[in-house]
């Protein structure tokens, strides 16, 4: 509204909601849940705002800093959410969930990890389950007689083969740094298993970011760079304006390691091309301790939470339920989104593949940049970008992470 305070009569109670969905169809799904909530709760009105990716974080941060957060908000869970939780700005959902056990039990248990802090749950998975997979151009693979690799060595062979044909193996748009971080996270998980990271992050005894696992991961990542694994400009391209996807579309690059949301993005953006893609899990690393079935990603990302400043937390929780109930699940599925609920029937081959991967995964590792406390996450993203740029050694990167982690720890 242009005029402040204009237009609403006294008895209308307003719930504000922020999320970072800007695709038209996705927004429709969300709005549908809200409309149903409004119908069920006369007198309430939901004011929804939708923001584009990166700057949303800034916005949310300022809002919380000012103690003026929206009633319900989306986040990726992990570190940033924990900052808000620590400063008592997020409503603990545990009591509500305990009151509605069947509602709660619909969700896969792993889907709460990213929003759990000291055994309390602060958010509900509301979007899609996204895990990192390698998307590839089936046509290109077929033309060049390449089959999806299963191990790192095979991947390196594929890289070499594609190189020969003058096709860039991977498209990467790492201006925002998190896309490149995925490779590192997967490698570290495959090499050392999830515990190595957990210990380092939690500052558990023996845990360290200078663990050989991280150094090895850095080395392998740099091997991939040196082998010409990435299309030109990878550290400067902007994912948000499709810097990497364009490489795929044009056939200049064959693969992209990306969250599974990429399927629907591609389907929206370039329906013709969507038919050409396939995916395969991140390859295993010979001698690695991590289970090759482990995945990196989030279940149900984004998560929706309630800010403590919300005047009507009960109503807000009801809204959350409307946004994640069975109708919502169904609608979301139509929009190619998989909510992490049990026994979901999926026709789409991509989605059912993803479902299978998640179901089989012994562990789901949250993206580091979301898991780690924000300042540390920045260091992680910075060092990974530097690793990709070959401007520091894996040892230096590890040392920088460890130092930052220690500083972070002591200041808390």
């Amino acid at each position: 509204s242009i005029l402040p305070l204009a237009g609403y009569s006294q008895d209308v109670k307003t719930l504000t909601s922020w999320d970072l969905q800007t695709q038209e169809d996705t927004v429709k799904v969300i709005r549908n849940g809200m409309d149903r909530f409004e119908a069920a709760n006369p007198g309430f009105k939901v004011e929804d705002s939708h923001f584009a990716n990166d700057a949303y974080k800034t916005k949310l941060k300022i809002a919380f800093g000012a103690d003026e957060a929206p009633c319900i908000f989306s986040s990726w869970g992990g570190g940033p959410l924990r900052e808000y939780i620590k400063s008592d700005q997020v409503v603990d959902l545990t009591p509500y969930l305990d009151e509605n056990p069947e509602f709660k039990d619909r969700f896969m248990p792993a889907s709460f990890t990213a929003v759990t802090y000291e055994d309390h749950i602060y958010g509900l998975p509301a979007e899609t389950s996204a895990v990192g997979v390698i998307i590839y151009n089936k046509e290109l693979f077929a033309e060049n007689d390449i089959t999806p690799p299963e191990t790192w060595d095979e991947l390196m062979d594929v890289v070499a083969q594609l190189q020969e044909k003058n096709i860039a193996p991977f498209a990467l748009a790492n201006k925002t740094k998190w896309p490149g971080s995925m490779y590192f996270v997967y490698l570290a998980d495959r090499i050392g298993g999830p515990e190595t990271f957990l210990n380092a992050a939690e500052r558990a005894p023996g845990g360290s970011f200078e663990d050989p696992t991280f150094i090895k991961a850095g080395e392998m990542l740099q091997d991939l760079v040196k082998a010409g694994g990435f299309a030109r400009g990878y550290n400067g391209l902007d994912y948000d304006i499709g810097g990497s996807r364009r490489l795929l579309y044009s056939g200049r690059a064959a693969m992209e390691l990306m969250g599974t949301w990429e399927f629907s993005t591609i389907a929206n953006e370039n329906p013709d091309f969507a038919d050409k893609i396939g995916f395969f899990p991140f390859p295993s690393v010979e001698g690695g301790k991590g289970d090759p079935n482990n995945v990196v990603g989030t279940l149900g990302d984004n998560f929706i939470s309630i800010a403590s400043s919300c005047e009507y937390p009960d109503a807000a929780f009801d809204l959350l339920m409307h946004l994640t109930d069975d109708i919502a699940v169904e609608k979301k599925l139509e929009d190619n989104g998989i909510m992490p609920v049990k026994n979901l029937e999926v026709d789409d081959p991509f989605l059912s593949g993803v479902m299978d991967m998640v179901a089989d995964a012994p562990s789901v590792q949250l993206w580091y940049d979301q898991e780690l406390p924000p300042a540390l996450a920045e260091v992680h993203k910075d060092t990974t970008q530097q690793l990709l740029g070959l401007s520091i050694t894996p040892e230096e990167a590890a040392a920088a992470m460890e130092a930052a982690a220690k500083a972070q720890d002591s200041s808390n």
């Binding site: 003026e68 953006e269 370039n270």
Partner: protein
């Protein structure tokens, strides 16, 4: 000898002129041409190729979206802000240029020094104030910061301007029975129109493109201004470069028109600021 060097400089001027014309307009032509392409074309044809058919579909799509709302929002905020900037800064400039009071020069220095404040410093406090005043997510939230951050340079330009108004006019008005307030309203304000239009156009351009405050202080689509819209479209259409560039063109167009109309004034008005360093 003398003949030749004379001719040489004659020749170099148009050459330089054309070269720079290419430097400024080619990127812009790229924007316009690309905005008329289909998405498919941008993947298959070379980027600098002409569009296959000069299609306005992208524009239609943008205009049928919320573009007009954003345009209206921008126009609304900028109009009010510019009016306030003009009023507030011309008042201050008059006092600084012509009224005698203690610390006049010191105050002028301080105000002009406002130009060096890094604007991002003000984000969080301004956000807090906006919420406190209940203006958050209204277009009015933008007006305060827009006006305040534009004041130092505006006051600087207008003060120089008003110093050039002949003293006799002031004295004539004094004899005609005007006090300081009327002298300002009836003489100085109307006489500073060249300076005022410079200030208005200059700040209009800067604010039309302002992003950070707009981003932080508003949230719903109904309050979005054009730069935000570009940003939002970028998210919405992701790699649909032609559509994004159509948005870019549409959001720049109003400024081009305003500038084309007001450019003589801005060149003349800049004299005040440029002559006295």
């Amino acid at each position: 000898m003398a003949h030749r060097s004379f001719k040489l400089s004659r020749l170099s001027i148009p050459v330089l002129g054309l070269f720079w014309l290419a430097v400024t307009t080619l990127p812009f032509l790229f924007v316009v041409f690309t905005s008329m392409k289909t998405l498919q074309e941008t993947y298959t044809n070379p980027v600098w190729a002409l569009p296959e058919s000069f299609s306005l579909d992208n524009y239609i799509r943008v205009i049928e979206g919320s573009y007009l709302t954003y345009l209206r929002n921008s126009a609304f905020v900028i109009t009010i802000s510019v009016i306030l900037i003009v009023i507030v800064s011309s008042m201050a400039a008059y006092a600084l240029a012509r009224l005698k009071f203690r610390f006049n020069t010191a105050l002028f220095g301080l105000i002009v020094a406002g130009m060096i404040v890094p604007l991002h410093v003000t984000l969080v406090p301004v956000y807090l104030m906006t919420r406190a005043m209940g203006l958050y997510d209204t277009l009015f939230a933008l007006i305060g910061p827009y006006v305040a951050t534009s004041l130092p340079v505006s006051i600087f330009i207008l003060t120089e301007f008003m110093r050039q108004v002949p003293r006799e006019l002031e004295e004539a008005a004094l004899l005609d029975g005007c006090g300081p307030f009327k002298i300002f309203a009836k003489i100085f304000f109307p006489l500073s129109t060249p300076g005022i239009s410079t200030v208005a156009i200059y700040n209009g351009i800067m604010l039309w493109n302002e992003f950070v405050f707009a981003y932080v202080l508003t949230s719903s689509p109904e309050t979005r201004t054009l730069p935000l819209a570009v940003w939002e479209f970028q998210g919405q259409y992701a790699a649909d470069i032609p559509t994004i560039l159509a948005v870019v063109t549409l959001s720049t167009l109003p400024l081009i028109i305003v500038y084309a109309i007001g450019q003589e004034r801005i060149v003349n008005g800049m004299m005040a600021g440029s002559l006295k360093g």
